[in-house]
């Protein structure tokens, strides 16, 4: 329905809810979701605000295509200042919650202040209430969703909530909807927890309307769905194997961060890959993967639904984990597996379920365990301190620490700080594999040079989804580039960053870009939204969004020195594979990147850039 033109503003301190018209000029300049919510956030909060204080705000935002019949049009983002990084945070989720929020008639919900006791927000179309959540505090995501559905006597109600980690302030706590879809990164769940906000609960029955050109929209979305269906990646590869098919690819090219980035290939990768998820287990003759699943309106359906081995030590006495549940995606399999040297796929599935059940980011959690294991092997951390022996490869240590983190017990409290603070605490800040305090995802910056620049310059701290140059450097989409060179990477990264900022602001899933160019999304926006949505406008908008985020980070105190990688990636060469002998060429790429961006040597947008982008 393009925009509903309505914002819900909720002040938890005053316990007020009010409807506001959407700023349509901003919608023309920032589209929706990531771009538009960030515009509201940066206009309303002090960049130096403590992310966990009542003065920070947190926004649930849809895009103009959320809830429409465009393929993958079910996305929403949570935008706030992130506690893990202190930078802008914007975490994107699929499932069905985003579309429901749109059906209820809201483009976004802006949450301010802090409730004096636990609450949740109930939204039923125009009827909005702040309700007591004392009885839900201390409950997991799964328990919360069940209790709310029972209380509302409505199985169709959609819930976006935090688990115990969000309440406890785990700095990478997520916000989870539909049991296993998550706005996962940067600790957005901890911000909700700091506000005593357990959940947003939405029921929308207003349906879809308000499209600029409905006939054209139906026609163009149908045509574009055909492209997704006929494309071998989005039509067959992703639905059948999910993102996990990358496990063997990335290992083969020698860009698999292994054992806290000590190695670039993991000997156990095959055992935790998509191929392994498909094959019958020796114990029960069943494959871990049950089927695939799609988010709202998605014609790709890359999601994994899995069943754990009931005889596995982690669950043999816990039948609640035996059912079909969110399965391993590549990032989780990497972070829980390769980053720690753990090749027990059932242990990974268990840890993954705990991340969903209690709402914490498997990437940051798994990567933090990688640092814990390295510190243990160095003798800095001991069994007594951790509560278990924790050498690389120990599935028992991984699952024990996942339980401790989920419950906020013992050493789990330290793990919940993330690798940067943990490594600093034990005197080895250099062992945190992070940028701006956020842990790397599943690609080694020595083996895929563009990803090093992607991580170093990502506005939300290390992240693959801000410019997924793997598409080009490894998969050849849209054109193949050499992953081992730095040449041309600043321009490649900038192009991906700007285009992705538009996709993330539209309500669509970035995975469409394996088959669609921005020029395939443009006519869908043009048909849905009033105004001019030319390619030139979208290109400029992507750049505008990127620079707006950057300006916020600069004002928050980030400088050139924060656009950097840990010393290991700059000084310790890859030991094997095609990148053997290589380190990251980040120092070479940064100056060229700044120049292309129109930034000064300190990484600040110049006055000319600011003026050109209308910031």
């Amino acid at each position: 329905m393009a925009w509903t033109r309505k914002i819900l503003r909720v002040n938890l301190t005053d316990r007020t809810c009010k409807s506001e018209p959407l700023n349509m000029q901003w919608a023309q300049d920032y589209l929706g979701q990531r771009g538009l919510a960030t515009k509201y956030l940066v206009s309303e909060i002090d960049p130096k605000v403590d992310p966990l204080s009542p003065d920070n705000k947190i926004i649930w935002a849809t895009g103009p295509l959320t809830g429409t019949m465009a393929s993958t049009g079910g996305r929403y983002s949570v935008v706030t200042k992130g506690p893990l990084t202190g930078a802008i945070a914007c975490s994107n989720s699929g499932g069905y919650f985003g579309a429901e929020l749109k059906f209820a008639g809201w483009d976004m919900v802006i949450i301010e202040g802090r409730a004096s006791s636990p609450v949740y927000l109930s939204i039923e179309n125009d009827k909005v209430e702040i309700r007591d959540a004392s009885h839900l505090w201390g409950k997991t995501v799964w328990e919360t969703e069940e209790a709310i559905k029972a209380a509302h006597q409505d199985p169709q109600v959609r819930v976006s909530c935090i688990g115990r980690t969000g309440e406890a302030g785990v700095l990478y706590a997520a916000i989870v909807n539909d049991l296993h879809r998550a706005a996962g990164r940067s600790g957005v769940g901890a911000v909700a927890g700091s506000k005593n906000l357990k959940a947003l609960v939405v029921r929308g029955t207003l349906g879809v309307g308000n499209l600029a050109n409905p006939k054209e929209f139906m026609k163009v979305t149908y045509e574009k769905k055909k492209i997704l269906k006929e494309n071998a990646v989005t039509g067959q590869g992703l639905p059948t194997y999910g993102t996990q098919v990358l496990m063997n690819v990335i290992n083969e090219i020698g860009a698999m961060p292994t054992r806290n980035h000590k190695d670039v290939q993991f000997e156990g990768a095959r055992k935790i890959s998509a191929e392994a998820m498909h094959e019958p287990r020796e114990s029960d003759g069943k494959a871990q993967l049950v089927n695939n699943q799609g988010c709202f309106g998605c014609t790709i359906a890359c999601g994994r639904i899995s069943k754990i081995d009931q005889t596995h030590y982690t669950v043999v006495n816990s039948p609640k984990y035996w059912g079909a549940s969110g399965g391993l995606e590549y990032e989780a399999a990497w972070s829980l597996g390769c980053a720690n040297g753990v090749d027990d796929i059932e242990a990974l599935q268990y840890a993954n379920m705990l991340c969903n059940e209690d709402g914490f980011d498997p990437i940051s959690f798994g990567a933090t365990i990688g640092a814990v294991m390295e510190l243990y092997e160095m003798g800095v951390l001991t069994k007594e301190e951790i509560g278990i022996e924790a050498p690389f490869g120990s599935a028992r240590a991984l699952t024990f620490l996942a339980e401790q983190t989920a419950r906020g017990e013992g050493f789990g409290k330290i793990v919940g700080l993330g690798s940067k603070r943990l490594c600093e605490k034990y005197g080895h800040p250099e062992l945190s594999m992070s940028v701006k305090g956020q842990e790397f995802p599943a690609y080694d910056a020595r083996g895929v040079q563009g990803m090093g620049l992607t991580y170093a310059t990502s506005n939300r701290g290390a992240c693959h989804l801000r410019s997924y140059t793997i598409s080009s450097e490894v998969l050849g989409i849209p054109v193949k580039t050499d992953p081992l060179t730095t040449e041309g990477k600043p321009a490649l990264v900038k192009a991906f960053q700007d285009a992705t900022a538009v996709v993330d602001s539209s309500g669509l899933c970035v995975f469409t870009t394996f088959a669609w160019a921005l020029s395939d999304i443009q006519p869908q926006l043009q048909a849905a939204c009033e105004g001019d949505w030319s390619m030139e406008k979208l290109d400029l908008m992507g750049e505008r969004i990127w620079n707006m985020e950057r300006q916020f980070n600069n004002a928050a105190g980030f400088t050139r020195k924060d656009d950097d990688l840990p010393p290991r990636l700059k000084n310790e060469a890859a030991k094997a594979g095609p990148a053997k002998g290589l380190v990251s060429g980040i120092d070479k790429m940064i100056p060229e990147y700044y120049e292309l961006r129109g930034w000064d040597t300190e990484g600040r947008p110049t006055a000319e850039t600011v003026a050109r982008l209308g910031l």
């Binding site: 990646v233 067959q236 993102t243 990358l246 063997n248 083969e252 998969l475 193949k480 050499d482």
Partner: protein, 84 residues
């Protein structure tokens, strides 16, 4: 000479049973065998031969017939796939 053919995702169907759990198929081939020869010999359908790596290095489609394998080379092939 000895080389290893690795086939992944839906190409796993072209592996002999004993190689299915590892996706690795070691074999002896004549000197001078090229990447293109391997694809033809194992009747791998063109639409499924997408990402081709030798020892982790990308081999573009135009170079497949010219790229001769040497002893201990690892040839890995995927159909069109992606992730994130």
């Amino acid at each position: 000479m000895r080389v290893t053919l690795k086939l992944y995702a839906s190409l796993s169907d072209f592996l002999p049973d004993e190689a299915k759990r590892t996706n690795e198929w070691p074999m002896d081939v004549p000197e001078g065998t090229t990447v293109g020869d391997m694809i033809a010999r194992h009747q791998l359908p063109a639409r499924l031969v997408h990402l081709v790596l030798v020892n982790g290095h990308f081999i573009p489609p135009v170079s497949r017939d010219a790229r001769a394998l040497v002893d201990n080379d690892v040839l890995a092939i995927w159909p069109p796939v992606a992730g994130g």
